[in-house]
Symmetry: D2
Subunit: 304 residues, 4 copies
Amino acid sequence: MDYQKILNEIDAELKQTPNSGQVASYIPELSTVDPNKFGIHLITTKNQHHGLGDSNERFSIQSIAKALSLTLAFSLEKDQLWHRVGVEPSGTAFNSLVQLEVEKGIPRNPLINAGALVISDVLVSRLSDPKKEFLEFVRSLAGNPAIDYGSKVSASERVTGYRNAALVNLMKAFGNINNDIEEVLDFYFHLCSVEMTCQELAQTFLYLASNGINPLTQKAVISSSKSKRINAILLLCGFYDEAGEFAFKVGLPGKSGVGGGIVAIHPNQFSIATWSPKLNSKGNSFKGMKVLELLTTKTESSIF
Amino acid sequence: MDYQKILNEIDAELKQTPNSGQVASYIPELSTVDPNKFGIHLITTKNQHHGLGDSNERFSIQSIAKALSLTLAFSLEKDQLWHRVGVEPSGTAFNSLVQLEVEKGIPRNPLINAGALVISDVLVSRLSDPKKEFLEFVRSLAGNPAIDYGSKVSASERVTGYRNAALVNLMKAFGNINNDIEEVLDFYFHLCSVEMTCQELAQTFLYLASNGINPLTQKAVISSSKSKRINAILLLCGFYDEAGEFAFKVGLPGKSGVGGGIVAIHPNQFSIATWSPKLNSKGNSFKGMKVLELLTTKTESSIF
Amino acid sequence: MDYQKILNEIDAELKQTPNSGQVASYIPELSTVDPNKFGIHLITTKNQHHGLGDSNERFSIQSIAKALSLTLAFSLEKDQLWHRVGVEPSGTAFNSLVQLEVEKGIPRNPLINAGALVISDVLVSRLSDPKKEFLEFVRSLAGNPAIDYGSKVSASERVTGYRNAALVNLMKAFGNINNDIEEVLDFYFHLCSVEMTCQELAQTFLYLASNGINPLTQKAVISSSKSKRINAILLLCGFYDEAGEFAFKVGLPGKSGVGGGIVAIHPNQFSIATWSPKLNSKGNSFKGMKVLELLTTKTESSIF
Amino acid sequence: MDYQKILNEIDAELKQTPNSGQVASYIPELSTVDPNKFGIHLITTKNQHHGLGDSNERFSIQSIAKALSLTLAFSLEKDQLWHRVGVEPSGTAFNSLVQLEVEKGIPRNPLINAGALVISDVLVSRLSDPKKEFLEFVRSLAGNPAIDYGSKVSASERVTGYRNAALVNLMKAFGNINNDIEEVLDFYFHLCSVEMTCQELAQTFLYLASNGINPLTQKAVISSSKSKRINAILLLCGFYDEAGEFAFKVGLPGKSGVGGGIVAIHPNQFSIATWSPKLNSKGNSFKGMKVLELLTTKTESSIF
């Protein structure tokens, strides 16, 4: 498969289409990004690289980081993890308190905000220096010790993160948060602020296309079985209220962030990252969704 | 009407009935109260006093205080107050986040927790020393400068009040809280900790049976029109998810608290306070509800 | 109290105010009414009559009839009636299936559509010829044998009443409807189609201002205790999602219908009916609400 | 891969485990089935057959038929189909009216009852003799003209199907049902009553493992792209409120029915059908779920 040619075709086609949507504005630090940034990077499991556009410029990966904190927590915990967070699609907006209240403080899955806060609580319990150790984990996946938190973004999040504070307080009321609320929120806001390029992002997630093996080190990040399960969660829950639409039109496990990034995985074939800051009404990158839809249409290939 | 005779009859009848229910246990300081405490005090608008039992022992008035903070806020604010909180019954449990999320951070009424937190925010904005001035307001109604906050209870609330913290954070996310969250919560937990006897409680609420006039000072606490409107809110919203049941069986405006107290008002006739710590499944005093039902049955008199 | 003078003043004031709102359009037969129709009729418990405008023209009383079917059912049943329908405000729109599903087919109160369908089912079980006997009941209250169903309206309802069919099927699924669905719906659509003038409506509801006694016959329609309880239900549940607003601003038990009618009761004083077809966004007559608000403001008199 | 050996191992293992759960009892005709029935049949895309147990005994396929009616409707309609029904997981119980009301009569996906009723409405509009033509469609997939509706089951469904009648009436109220309600329900109850053996069921669904081609006729049932999309819907929505759990543990698109059947597809590899009437608390066959979980564990193979 000549992926470079396909990516170039997609790029050419999308130049004909207006780039709709709005840049995320709820955090000041996100709203200042150039809305016309656009990058793609694809890495095959045979280590072939294909990219274009602004694929070497860093941006805030935001919720994409939730797949990484999930991986780290799942590698440290056994199945009792799933007593504290479900694996079902949420069926409602990504930060809904309604579901959380009805289901007694157990979030539907680890990729909605509430679930990611529970995962953060797990890591705060498990790690002696959570922020440092999480960053090391991400750096080892990306193969780049320069990956870091975006300090302005995490500070910005803390100031406006009242809804996340509501979520974590509610779960604490239900007994599903063990640590100090401020410590959990601080860790959570940091992990969402990690900055990467498309290339780094595609590299970081390649273990999910490789049965849990980090291709850079040949070491297991997580077992093959757990790797498949994370892919299942990504497919069902990775795109907020648009997960079904993404599975329907693209057919790959993936995760998006409000910074405009999307990462998707074709098991045993490739991982791909896209970046375009304008978001559709569901909070997913408008152009990134189009790229991935065109990719699986042109390759006539999805997990289905 | 010989109210003392009627109260004695009620007392005698209730001695035949088992006192069901559970003492509130979510705050340690509340759970240690003697479950068999029982007091009634009724004061007519002609200043006749009738009481029995433990009517001169102080207890934590809890949510009953929300009617007082509402009165103070309504006396300071014009109708724009009702842009921030509604006057509709909640139709769901008293601390539901579901309704608050669906209705964009506007609580249904000022007597549910969320609404009382908005009222607290109003008072924190309006008063220069909110805790001190609120206490002075209550003392002037009770005619007793010894009325005070129960410090153990308010501290206890703060430790376990994660759900209230969730509510106030959610409303802050919707832009409906103007002050610092900790300051609003601190004021709220204090007002709920006020301690009174049945006699003091009946005295305190007599202004609502007297068209807004404090009978002790003959000064207007609030206008006659606003006094009627507070009574309307009490009737519709004063008993959590059991407001309809109370209106149906008792037919008086009133307010209950999880400390086991209930206050009720018959406009132009009397105010009455009861205390019995065991709560029914809806969170209202089991025996207090019975007292008031028997009272309006025996007097064949309600607002309807 | 010179009620005629007050009504004339209200009429004069409202002529200065634009008459907002929309005539109900979901049934063709309702949408053809002249939107400028306007009538008031007040009858005191001493049988003094005061009226103005189109107070002797008949209109479809719609949901107001639900208070009458409730009265008839409550007079026939004991308290077990309340195992099948609650007495709590609904807190949501008047025909919501959400609440009904969450609460296992038990409607919150007898004045929302679901509750009125349960009351209809009770009457279908209890009466040998339900439509005939209900009409006789209404005629005896109105003192007029010419009162009748509006046949075009009831036929019109049946054609478009899919939401009511959904409600009754859902309750049947929960075991809370005993009779044939079509028979219950037919009775329900008929009772909502009853046509009356303001004068007839005020006369019909005078028993609720008279402790359950029909002033025309001096016979008890229902016991005094039950009469008070129906007033309590009217106050809490009579105006859909605007019940709190009505209690707050008007302070009287009442019931509205989408035909533009409203009836309100001041116990031991009067009953009043208004008619103006334009409805506010909550489905209550815009001008009728204003009339009643002005009435209790000018008389400085409400149940509170 | 020696599938027969693996199936035999699974069978042996499951004999060591208690068979939990309850046979569906809401329809009398389903409750009389022998709870110990157990069959498996797997067919590879190379037409290899492997089976065991009661795999040649017919049972009521129930909701599994919804995947077939969806296929037929999707083959007849263009993308405007998705204006009437979504492709998102439901996040709530399979027959919830709550979601339907909130989302204005548009079901979340075509596999919940409401969505299947919309699909039925589409087929009633599109086909001249819907019941006959649907049966022919199923027979051509199964390669067996003896496949038929279970008349007792469909009659039984009609009698108790009040909740489905509620759903279809509610959608009609929202304008999302075009045909007569009784005709839609009759078609729906028939399609759910189709009876097949495990072998017939596996054969019938083999087109979804074969890019939309019926292997028996080599004709396209549906385009390759649409076939992938149906698989995506099956993965996200095929197991009621347990879809995430199934994707997480099994990792294959599939569909279950309350008759105890499950069908699952591994694209380009096989289709498999299981039958065991005892259902877990989510309404899916307890033993069938175990079979499929063991299958993908033992083969270390899923779509992820």
